[in-house]
């Protein structure tokens, strides 16, 4: 049957199991929007800015486990999407972005709303395509989803000139995708698995360090827990990896790195075997490289070979899907009925518990003093039993949530870890709420971050998405101010807002509810009210202590065990 390029695209999306897309129309995608209008399988969510379309697709993907899909127009539509693409690339989130392009005959002519989108997005995507013939659409879409969702996941952009989406051809669905140049490894090398298990069982001071890979490989969180129990080994998560193990598991030491716990950073610094799983030794994790885990042999399990030995040398690399490799490791341990070195582990845990006793995340909340931001996060943890979907923006509030929320399960955590994109939180939370309409979605943000992408309240209103936005409002760009206080003698250059909007009115202007909290006793009732609203979004604007700092902190370029505790 002959179909237009736009109809073929929509049919392909349907066959790729897509039922939700986030987008914004414009001239070059009008054929596609018309095809969307004339069908009912795929629901389109209209965002208010293309950056948000990508963040919503990202949030949707993380929570649903499916590929997120965005649709944007040519020129500014696509350039607005670049931040969202780069964000998904840094955090390895599977997304497909369809962008319109000016008609083929105009490409290169500096046409209206023309940009070299394939050129601009080359380094912001895992891969991208420019469609040159209508006959190629089906195969390219198939390949785009294959690339986005397999191997180390990431964003893929497909640029479709307007004439191509309008032309017709016979629709042929490629049943399989086979790319000779792209064949990700999933199984770990059996010899390496054996060697790894031997080292794990012999280790005196083992340490599991796990990242976003645990969450990208669905089902591996429970395997991680099994492994940590089988080895009686402590676990630390990266920012991206939170939720990989329940916060109250006794093997969990909290997050590591720049704002990690004392026990996690000390344990990494003193372990004799570091088992990195689905993590990439980011500079915010390692601190000064030459002092990172100085006594440890490193086992590194990752699906991306280029992550291995990039920053830290891996003595024993295992390339493969984290879930598959964890299964193989557990089978090997069971096969040899392996037991860890309990005698040595007893001493190791004694040491760890000593570090733990420092209680490095402790803070003091007085009843009549200002509200501490940590108090807000902990109270929401209690009220949601650690099971809400939690999204953040970027800065101090992000770190406080990472430190204090305490996730009890995987796939509940949305944060811009790699790129650090302010403005991520609200649209990502919206994407998550679309994926899970019946779950509570809490978006922690700051008074600065929320002003990037605040137009998305309009989207939340349009689709009755009852997201709960909690602003930890200190009147500063808190993290910038903290660095200026610590490293620039408190010269607060441009980090202060002297004209914040009235966030209660902002909520109301967009059709939601706004609640202001100034005193501690108002906090709990305000949160109860917010959690009780199920038919509209709510902003809870909490005045928190203005110059609270995030601690512990490893100053940039220092070693992990040189952290500042308070």
């Amino acid at each position: 049957m002959k179909m237009t390029g736009a109809e073929i695209l929509v049919e392909c999306l349907k066959r790729e199991n897509v039922d939700t897309i986030f987008g914004y129309p414009g001239g070059s995608v009008l054929h596609i929007y018309d095809a969307i209008f004339r069908q009912s399988h795929i629901k389109h969510y209209l965002v208010r800015h293309e950056q948000a379309a990508l963040h919503s697709a990202n949030g949707y993907a993380r929570i649903s486990g499916k590929c997120g899909v965005a649709l944007v127009t040519s020129g500014p539509g696509a350039t607005n999407a670049v931040t969202g693409l780069a964000d998904s690339l840094a955090d390895s989130i599977p997304t497909v972005c369809i962008s319109g392009q000016v008609p083929s005959s105009l490409i290169g002519n500096d046409a209206f709303q023309e940009a070299d989108v394939v050129g601009i997005t080359r380094s912001a995507t895992k891969h991208n395509f420019l469609v040159k013939r209508v006959e190629d659409i089906a195969l390219i879409i198939r390949q785009a989803f294959h690339i986005a969702t397999t191997g180390r996941p990431g964003p893929v952009l497909v640029d479709i000139p307007k004439d191509i989406s309008g032309e017709t051809c016979e629709f042929i669905w490629p049943e399989t995708v086979d790319m000779r140049s792209y064949k990700p490894v999933t199984h770990g090398h059996p010899g390496q698995i054996k060697r790894a298990v031997k080292q794990m069982l012999a280790a005196k001071r083992p340490m599991l360090y796990t990242g976003g890979g645990i969450l990208n490989s669905v089902g591996s969180a429970s395997l991680l827990r099994e492994l940590s129990h089988a080895l009686n080994a402590p676990v630390t998560n990266t920012l991206m990896g939170l939720g990989g193990i329940p916060h109250d598991d006794k093997h969990f030491l909290g997050m590591l790195g720049m704002h990690g716990t004392y026990e996690a950073n000390m344990a990494v610094s003193h372990c004799d075997l570091l088992i990195a799983i689905g993590a990439r030794f980011d500079d915010r994790v390692t601190g000064r490289l030459d002092a990172f885990a100085p006594d440890a042999k490193v086992i590194h399990i990752d699906i991306d070979p280029s992550s291995i030995s990039k920053n830290v040398h891996a003595h024993l690399p295992i390339v493969g899907d984290v879930g598959e490799v964890l299964k193989q490791l557990l089978e090997e341990i069971a096969r040899r009925d392996g037991k860890p070195n309990e005698e040595a582990l007893l001493l190791w845990w004694e040491q760890i518990n000593e570090w733990r006793a420092k209680d490095s995340l402790a803070f003091e909340q007085t009843l009549d003093g200002p509200i501490k931001p940590q108090t807000v996060v902990r109270m929401i943890h209690e009220k949601t039993a650690g099971g809400a979907i939690v999204s953040t923006d970027v800065g101090q509030h992000q770190m406080w949530v990472a430190q204090h929320y305490g996730f009890n399960r995987p796939h509940r955590w949305l944060t811009s870890g790699g790129l650090g994109t302010m403005g991520y939180g609200l649209p990502a939370g919206i994407g998550a709420q679309v994926a899970m309409p019946d779950e509570k979605v809490i978006i922690f943000t700051g008074d600065s971050s929320i002003q990037m992408c605040s137009q998305e309240f309009s989207t939340a209103f349009q689709y009755n998405l009852p997201v709960i936005v909690v602003i930890l409002n200190n009147g500063y760009m808190g993290m910038v101010r903290q660095w200026q206080e610590m490293f620039y003698e408190s010269r607060y250059s441009q980090s202060y807002f002297d004209s914040l909007p009235d966030f209660v009115k902002l909520a109301e202007a967009y059709g939601g509810t706004g609640i202001r909290v100034d005193r501690l006793e108002e906090l709990s009732p305000a949160l109860d009210k917010a959690l009780g609203l199920n038919d509209q979004f709510v902003i809870v604007d909490v005045a928190v202590s203005k110059e609270e700092n995030v601690f512990p902190m490893v100053p940039a370029g220092a070693a992990l065990d040189e952290m500042v505790l308070a």
């Binding site: 080359r122 380094s123 420019l130 690339i147 000779r180 140049s181 280029s306 291995i308 990039k310």
Partner: protein
Amino acid sequence: MRHTITILVENEFGVLTRVAGLFSARGYNIESLNVAPTLDETVSRMTLVTRGDEKVIEQIKKQLNKLIPVIKVEDISHLVHIEREMLLVKVASNADNRSALVQLAEDTRCKIVDNVEISYLSLETTGSAQELDDFIKALEPYGIIEITRTGSLGMRRGIKGFTIED
């Protein structure tokens, strides 16, 4: 250290930019890069010469492999291999030194490709990068008008080929 890397890629739009973009984005240097189709018209072959310590070269190979249209990557530096480069050079000449220049061309087995005026001579030759450097030096006294070089082409010695099949 200098490394010669051969790469098989899908012969498609934009692949050269992806490879070159990777090097600029990650701060690796390219000493030379040569690309042309192979017998299989869907495949192009590149020879890339770069510099770096073992860790950097290892990362370069991994990053190249990570590019979707890259089929195969091999660092041939540590293998027994052949490397050749082609040079076109235009040299000034006059009635006095013409015969000496022609003699030099013959002695070095290079081809005279443009010999219509007494005022210059164009020569073509191939060899290793070092041989070409030496040759250029020998021509310098005559006055070099212009040169163009292809950059290295590389191939392993031995019966085994570097193709997508093996």
